[in-house]
């Protein structure tokens, strides 16, 4: 029983983080059909913003909110710098510019801050543990679960109940048709990048909260996780991305619990093996997205 609870908390907290990461990637992909390779850097930027804010002595929540805002701003900047100028030209051009922007941000961190890990300010709650029904678990796991639940609920509400949300879903399914009904392309795209930045910002705080430090390459793993989760879930579907995130967390956690100590370092190999099996079974991912659509 305690074991089951322990397992559940681990899956939900890891899955919550993974789901948010995946959602941030897929919201842009759904509309532009392009992977934003600079997505991981939104998480990096959050970390460094928090690190820099550490010197201000402001309340932690204010610093965290500022860091998330920096991620949102960077998300919007990504669109203006890497996507908008070349969007209409070619897919290859956008892939290259988004790679370039990612490298640029990483190198800026290397150059202006440091290649070495930097400590970010964290409130004590991130290192405390609680005991629920005999299970001792870090508070940050519960924080992650709560944050993911709230964000996913707010996100679902926005996408279903607001005109902009419905317009974004429509644009993800058929961008040209949405524009022919008056939905401005730039508004939808900028909103997608802003939401992507918001999700990356929140997940960045939670993710970095696990480690306590930020390095220039910190965005690599979240990008990979988000990418795998969306591929499993079906690249075009928002709920698929969330499902993929939780499934990936389930696989990772199960392997953590069951693999012998000396096999644990090969965990990723096992994870990828399973992902390949899932894709062989369902090449489109678990959930199919909207059936029609074209790129612009």
């Amino acid at each position: 029983m305690t074991f089951a609870l322990q397992f559940l908390i681990d899956v939900l907290s890891l899955g919550g983080a993974y789901a948010l990461m995946a959602l941030g990637l897929v919201i842009v992909y759904g509309i532009l059909r392009l992977v934003n390779f600079a997505y991981g850097e939104l998480i990096m930027v959050t970390g460094y913003a928090l690190f820099l804010a550490g010197g201000t002595g402001l309340p932690w929540l204010v610093m965290a909110a500022m860091a998330i805002l920096v991620a949102v701003a960077t998300g919007i900047l990504t669109e203006y710098v890497a996507f908008r100028p070349v969007r209409a030209k070619s897919v290859t051009a956008v892939l290259i510019t988004s790679f370039a922007f990612s490298t640029l941000l990483q190198n800026a961190a290397l150059l202006f801050i440091s290649p070495r890990p930097r400590n970010v300010p964290l409130p004590p709650i991130f290192s405390q543990t609680v005991e629920i029904a005999g299970v001792v678990t870090p508070m940050r796991n519960l924080l992650t679960i709560a944050a993911a639940a709230i964000l996913l609920a707010v996100f679902a509400f926005l996408m279903r109940r607001t005109v902009l949300g419905v317009a974004m879903r429509a644009a993800a399914s058929n961008f040209t048709m949405a524009r022919m009904l008056g939905v401005p392309a730039n508004l939808v795209i900028t909103s997608a990048f802003a939401i992507s930045g918001l999700l990356a910002g929140v997940v960045g705080i939670l993710w970095i909260g696990r480690i306590g430090t930020v390095v220039p390459g910190i965005g690599m793993e979240p990008l990979l996780v988000a990418f795998i989760a969306t591929v499993i879930g079906g690249m075009r579907s928002l709920s698929g991305a969330v499902l993929g995130g939780f499934l990936l967390a389930f696989i990772d956690t199960t392997l953590n619990y069951t693999l012998a100590q000396d096999l644990l370092k090969f965990r990723d190999a096992f994870t990828f093996g399973l992902v390949i099996l899932i894709l062989l079974w369902r090449p489109q991912g678990l959930l199919k997205g909207p059936a029609t659509g074209q790129r612009t």
Partner: protein, 235 residues
């Protein structure tokens, strides 16, 4: 209302539209006829702003709109029903209609009245309001996209093959709808394979062949002088 001059549309090296000129006067229904591949859809999508004009000009109520974006065209009063219908399949019928009123979203009362009027015109849509649009039949989807286009409060409606692939009874309903819309004073450009039905409703007609206008005149003239069978065969 609409004046197209020497319009050219290209897909890479393919010249789909090669110097098309046409007019639609306010309140008229203009039929645009021609075989598959003649360039009718390309012409229409270019007027809608979804395709770039390689040459020529498009004027709407005197204003040059040749390079306007699709989202600007709808604000100027041009609504488009595409050949592929393009319902948003995962969105409900209501959400699809809601998007039609995107431009007027701040006028809540007006939008509610528009919606009410459309549901009266297409009662089936009301019955299926909460259903995903992708689950509708072809005829219902056609009604939905026409209703959605009307929610934008157009002055000019572009209809691309609204009867395509529908059962005869449904086709009659669709043409009846078009007649009702026309009698409300709306200007319509109608692309149709169903030539005789289109010409019955039309005031003027253009026949396209290989990207050019091969014949133009009043609907009666075109019906009398053009070999309608040849239209289908592309001859």
């Amino acid at each position: 209302m609409l004046e197209v001059k020497d319009l050219e549309v290209r897909y890479g090296a393919i010249r789909a539209v090669r110097g098309v000129s046409m007019k639609a006067e306010a309140g008229q229904l203009v039929a645009l006829l021609g075989a598959n591949g003649a360039g009718k859809s390309s012409t229409l999508m270019c007027v809608a702003g979804a395709l770039r004009a390689a040459a020529g000009s498009i004027r709407l109520m005197g204003e040059d709109v040749t390079s306007a974006r699709p989202e600007a065209m709808v604000r100027k009063g041009v609504a488009t029903v595409t050949e592929t219908r393009d319902v948003f399949p995962d969105l409900t019928v209501s959400e699809n209609l809601l998007l039609g009123s995107y431009v007027h979203r701040h006028d809540r009362a007006g939008v509610a009245a528009d919606r009410e009027r459309m549901l009266q015109l297409f009662p089936r849509l009301g019955e299926r309001a909460g259903q995903a649009a992708g689950t509708l039949s072809g005829g219902e989807q056609q009604m939905l996209v026409i209703a959605r286009a009307m929610m934008t409060r157009p002055k000019l409606l572009l209809l691309d093959e609204p009867s395509l692939g529908l059962a005869p009874a449904i086709v009659d309903q669709i043409f009846e709808m078009i007649r009702v819309l026309k009698s409300s004073g709306l200007t319509i450009v109608l692309v149709e394979q169903n030539v005789s039905k289109a010409l019955q409703l039309a005031d003027t007609a253009y026949v396209m062949r290989l990207g050019r206008i091969a014949a133009a005149g009043t609907a009666a003239e075109i019906a009398a002088t053009t070999d309608l069978g040849a239209l289908y065969l592309g001859g």
